[in-house]
């Protein structure tokens, strides 16, 4: 590889973006979205609500804008140069076509890095502006802390047990929910054993009741070692609604955070139902600060943008500019629909059946479902490696997610896109009359 050649192509791509005012327009649009959207979207009026708007809507919109700009820039950087024949002179020089591909890709990736850095700085500045002085708003501070999620050790609580269906069956069965009769308690521990939490924790739970109506019911929560709780909270909730309780850091011990849930005997006792699966009950434990978490989140986004840049450059190498843009828009729609694609692939239904029973699938349905399942293989990581939802919920974007995004999206996906593009680009004729 000839480094000066590569650097020359990277610099050219950046100069093109800067001097054709792509960068200025992009930065202006990012500022407009990041600052303007929180002013347009109505929040609940609290600082925490405003923070959610910034992280959940404005940041997501900015990332969407960057994704679209990256795909467009990727398509245009090669396809437009082929169309107006500027690339002819470049291709006539002693340059390998893969050096052109790589230089163009790196140029866009550098531009994305700069745009993401600006995005991060603007978000951090906005957060600093709306942050209540002295950490007065605990909800706001909770959202800013990067929290790890823990689920109870149901096996230690004695809820996971062998229920053999036949002789010799040793499988373990974990219940999806636990029913708690009035006057009874359930003890369980969150295995938070690594280090002490950096601040107050938050318990989230979704309780149901055995009553046929939706009348609210009470639950009693004790946090801390058994028999010596450091915090006792009585909560009254409507069934099925998620509740959030503050758990003091003192409730932690090296063995974890012990919780006792009691169904109190009141005037109108009801059997409580506690979900034990994902989303049933969880403990959020603060670990890092917002700046580090935002940086990790933006690194995940950066890996995604690197993949989109690879897709764009590849499309631009293979197709004419209008077709490449059309294909890129399709890819963006596909990425935006990743959740729906996953739902269809997992449930096997791509529409809601009117009948109560699932309809019999015809051959066309099977073909469509097959296509969805193939698409899901590619798009599922995009859902898993989505940092905005984590940031907006004050959850930690783990380094493992950053590493997975870097390896999977930034390297593996980009490499597949680049190999595919290079295979065609190195074989493609340029300069056919009327084709560029």
């Amino acid at each position: 590889m000839n480094l000066p050649r590569l650097v020359a192509i990277v610099r050219l791509t950046l100069r093109d973006a800067v001097r054709s005012r792509v960068v200025v327009s992009l930065l202006a649009a990012l500022l407009l979205v990041l600052v303007g959207l929180p002013l347009l979207v109505q929040s609940d009026g609290t600082p925490a609500g405003r923070l959610r708007i910034i992280l959940e809507y404005a940041l997501a919109a900015a990332i969407g804008l960057l994704s679209a700009a990256t795909l467009w820039a990727g398509c245009a950087t090669v396809a437009a140069e082929l169309q107006d024949r500027r690339l002819f002179i470049v291709l006539a020089k002693p340059v390998h076509r893969w050096e052109i591909w790589l230089g163009k890709w790196l140029g866009i990736v550098v531009m994305d890095a700069a745009a993401l850095a600006v995005t991060g700085l603007v978000v951090a500045a906005l957060v600093a502006v709306i942050r209540p002085a002295g950490g007065a708003d605990s909800q706001f501070e909770a959202l800013l802390s990067a929290r790890d999620t823990f689920h109870p050790d149901w096996a230690a609580a004695g809820l996971v047990r062998a229920v053999p269906a036949a002789a010799g069956d040793t499988r373990q069965f974990e219940p999806k929910s636990v029913a708690l009769l009035p006057g009874h308690s359930l003890d369980f521990t969150f295995p938070v054993s690594a280090t002490a939490p950096g601040g107050p924790m938050e318990l989230r739970a979704r309780l149901g009741s055995a009553r046929p109506n939706r009348a609210p019911f009470a639950s009693l929560w004790e946090f801390g070692p058994p028999g010596k709780p450091v915090s006792v909270v009585t909560s009254t909730n409507a069934p099925g609604l998620s509740m959030a309780l503050a758990v003091p850091a003192a409730a932690w011990s090296p063995g974890g955070v012990h919780v006792r849930l009691t169904n109190p005997v009141g005037r109108d006792p009801a059997t409580l139902v506690l979900g034990t699966g994902v989303g049933g009950v969880e403990l959020l434990v603060p670990r890092d600060g917002f700046a580090v978490n935002l940086t990790r989140g933006l690194l995940v986004v950066f890996a995604r943008l690197a993949f989109l840049a690879a897709l764009g450059v590849t499309a631009g190498c293979l197709l004419s500019l209008p077709v490449a843009v059309f294909v890129s828009i399709f890819v963006l729609v596909l990425i935006a629909s990743a959740g729906y694609v996953q739902t269809v692939a997992v449930t096997g239904m791509y529409y809601i059946p009117l009948e109560s029973e699932a309809p019999e699938l015809g051959w066309l349905d099977r073909v469509v479902l097959g296509v969805f399942r193939i698409m899901n293989v590619a798009t599922a990581p995009l859902i898993r490696l989505e940092p905005v939802a984590l940031l907006a919920d004050g959850r930690r974007v783990a380094w493992a997610i950053v590493a997975e995004a870097g390896l999977l999206l930034g390297l593996a996906y980009s490499a597949v896109a680049s190999l595919f593009g290079l295979w065609f680009f190195t074989r493609r004729e340029v300069g056919r009359a009327g084709t560029e």
């Binding site: 000066p4 100069r15 093109d16 500027r86 002179i89 020089k93 340059v95 004729e429 056919r432």
Partner: protein
Amino acid sequence: MSTIPHDAPAVIDARGLNKVFRDFWGRPKVRAVQDLTLEVRSGEVFGLLGPNGSGKSTTIKMLLGLLYPTSGELRVLGGSPRDAATRERLGYMPEESYLYKYLTAQETLEFYASLGGLRSRRRRQRVDEMIELVGLASARHRRVGEFSKGMARRVGFAQALIHDPDVLLLDEPTSGLDPIGCRQVKDLILDLARRGKTILVCSHYLADMQDVCDRVAILLDGRVCAQGPVRELVRQPDTWRITLEGVDDALRDRLVAYLQEQCGRPVAVEPAGRSLESLFVDVVTRQRAASPPP
């Protein structure tokens, strides 16, 4: 024009070259080049002539490795033009100035010099030389997008030379240039040829081609219709033009009468004159010398 020995090594060697453009379904649409056989020797200025659509540009693009021959054999500098190593010794000036409009003249040449593999000090030196050569020193920091067509053509010519290639492929090199620019380019082509460069030129401007080319090939519908040294191709057997100086009208009449008697047919006589190009260049050069531009 120079005299190239017949045993000089072939730098461009095309044998039975064909190029067929196909449609989306793979059906032959256009036969752009048919059974083309060319041999351009080292140090030669070779002209490709032909009307629009005759296959000149397609041939050049095949020589650059941008298009691939459908059949036939093509060697440039002994290798395939699709190899980057072959293109290290090739320079190309396209028929239009396909340049990056947002770059200045200096940035443009620095970019192509980097692609040509020149390292920093040599690159700077070479860029300065080329800017001087094409007369753009005062405009080196202006963006190419602001240039006139002629100035852009000069940048195009400079980028073709920037990495000091052994073989130059020039597509309509004088197109868009004023007569002085044309003369400079032609002088430069002749100078490069004297320095041992091999040059293949495509042009519609037959007078320009006649001025610079050692040999030409005339293409029509992708086929070579005529090929050979320019002097031999344009020469009319048994026909001569005699230029006489210091001859008054009476002597001229006596000479014409004598020649007509000897040849047995009418003799064409016309006053000798210089070419309009030569007059233009002289007038403008004198004027500029008298009052240089601010």
